[in-house]
Point group: C2
Chain length 316, copies 2
């Protein structure tokens, strides 16, 4: 869908923008009332709704010169959709808030919406509402609603003896970010991974069905997020680096930047891989691979010892 105008948000106007955005959001069967009223209404058949909110700020979570508006739409939607997968659930509806300067090209906002809609389509979710407003800086807020079959998988259920496992790519987006930060555009596979993460959306529900005891999506960094599981569960977690095959583009970037590619894997977050714990001996669902163990104690170790590199990203 091409933007209707070459102008700015100010040219399109608040209600023109809302109309054009709403046209880009197809409404699925769970949507009882879509955009355009004081609130939307979404079906939640089992009487419980999952909800998660994320903020994405230009210059901190994305840069307009590093990724297209469509890519950024995919990215911001993926972050929230993955949160619901990490509960063992699935997203059904999103609301999106866009704050932006009046001189932002309208086409940028509409392509952002198209990226969000396309990412939502991967899990069958609909954008049911939102808000637009002026601001000095582009900011996108995304809230996902969804459902879960059975009990949601929390961060707090890991027990000593469990195995730690991962689903999805890990470290690729961080490698891509490192490349972009230094002004490069290749290896393309990593840059693409940063621009459009591919969270393993179905892996969350599959892990829940297989008996996962705790789960999280890797958004801060693998060690940081494993740390959240350890803290919430009152256990220690040891990550085994031998479990990770270092893919060729990661090796290439490590060599080019003089960095150990393992750092991207252990401290990178933007891929939204899922990390979960399972009782020992649980046959892991397809797509899941064992990467560590849960023991008595506290904190996260790497190969049995302390890790002296970064563990993830802090916002303040």
């Amino acid at each position: 869908m091409t933007p209707p105008a070459d102008g700015t948000l100010a040219d399109l106007g608040e209600f023109g923008l809302i109309d054009e955005l709403a046209r880009r959001f197809e409404q699925g069967p769970a949507v009882l009332l879509g955009p355009g009223d004081d609130a939307a209404v979404v079906a939640v058949p089992d009487g419980r709704v999952l909800v998660s909110t994320d903020l994405h700020v230009e210059g901190r979570h994305f840069r307009r010169d590093w990724a297209s508006a469509t890519d950024i739409g995919h990215r911001v939607a993926a972050a929230n959709l993955a949160d619901l997968s990490a509960m063992g659930g699935r997203a059904t509806a999103l609301t999106v808030g866009l704050a932006a300067p009046a001189e932002l090209p309208a086409g940028w906002a509409l392509e952002l919406a198209e990226g969000i809609a396309a990412e939502c389509a991967l899990v069958g979710a609909s954008v049911v509402g939102g808000d637009v407003t002026g601001a000095d800086q582009v900011m996108v807020s995304v809230t996902a609603l969804g459902s879960v079959t059975g009990d949601p998988v929390r961060r707090s259920g890991a027990g000593p003896g469990d195995v730690l496992a991962i689903a999805g790519r890990q470290g690729w987006a961080a490698g891509g970010l490192a490349v972009l930060t230094r002004g490069f555009r290749s290896p393309r596979a990593l840059v693409d991974a940063y621009r459009r993460p591919q969270p393993p959306y179905d892996a969350g529900a599959q892990a829940a069905a297989a008996g996962a005891t705790s789960m999280i999506d890797v958004s801060d960094g693998l060690l940081a997020d494993a740390g959240h599981l350890a803290t919430a569960s009152g256990v220690a977690i040891d990550v085994r680096t031998e479990a990770f095959a270092i893919a060729e583009p990661m090796r290439a970037v490590g060599a080019a930047l003089g960095a150990d590619p393992l750092r991207f894997i252990l401290a990178g977050g933007d891929d939204h891989a899922l990390v979960a714990t399972f009782p020992a001996g649980t046959p892991l669902p397809e797509g899941w691979a064992e990467i560590g163990v849960v023991t008595d104690g506290a904190g996260v170790t790497v190969d049995g010892g302390p890790w002296d590199g970064p563990t993830g990203h802090l916002h303040f």
Copy 2:
């Protein structure tokens, strides 16, 4: 609850801030899983959830020198809670995103949270989750979830012959804003109305039960929002100014500023009054007052003719 520190968000740190915020949010019975995981889980007994999102940007929706953080918390929560009332429903849960510079005083963020929590308590809603991040400007995103008994009241159901009615104060907040904009701090009643709107939360469900055909909360301006009802319903609406008693502080401000106080009533929005249409002859619930009529046609008139003043606020 007093802030634990005199420092900034950077001093408190991301996870310190999240912990302190979460401590300020009591969890009601509808909350099956509160803050601290990848998503919260909220009970929605009838299998449908209402959802509405608003953004609030410093310098556009609020100023830190015009209202306390607690007041701003009340304001941003009220805007979303009123949206759900305007569907004939009631909010049960909020998520809140806070984007702010690292040098923001931590106490400001915590008092904001206390204001949000206090406003939520008025309707029995809980803050179940959110996100915090750095940004150049303070921005607050609020998403409300809730329930409705029976059919939600949309904007599109008004028919010719219906009466237009209002519940709640209208124009007081706009009067207060006009005062603050000019550097004054009184009349206090209007400034307070701007700082802490008092939406008639229960009036929405009461209107729905009485047979309201359409409803909206006044957030853009009375005439602008009546216009939304008219457009969505395919009708014309005439607002009768004789229906409005001009309260004493409104008269005083009008005289002091050389402005017709009717302008605050017709174009002001921040009170979050509810406006609804009812079939002619419907006994209006307590707190509702007739202010106009619905006819065939399109658009909004005032006392049968065009209105040449402002109708409300545009964001771009």
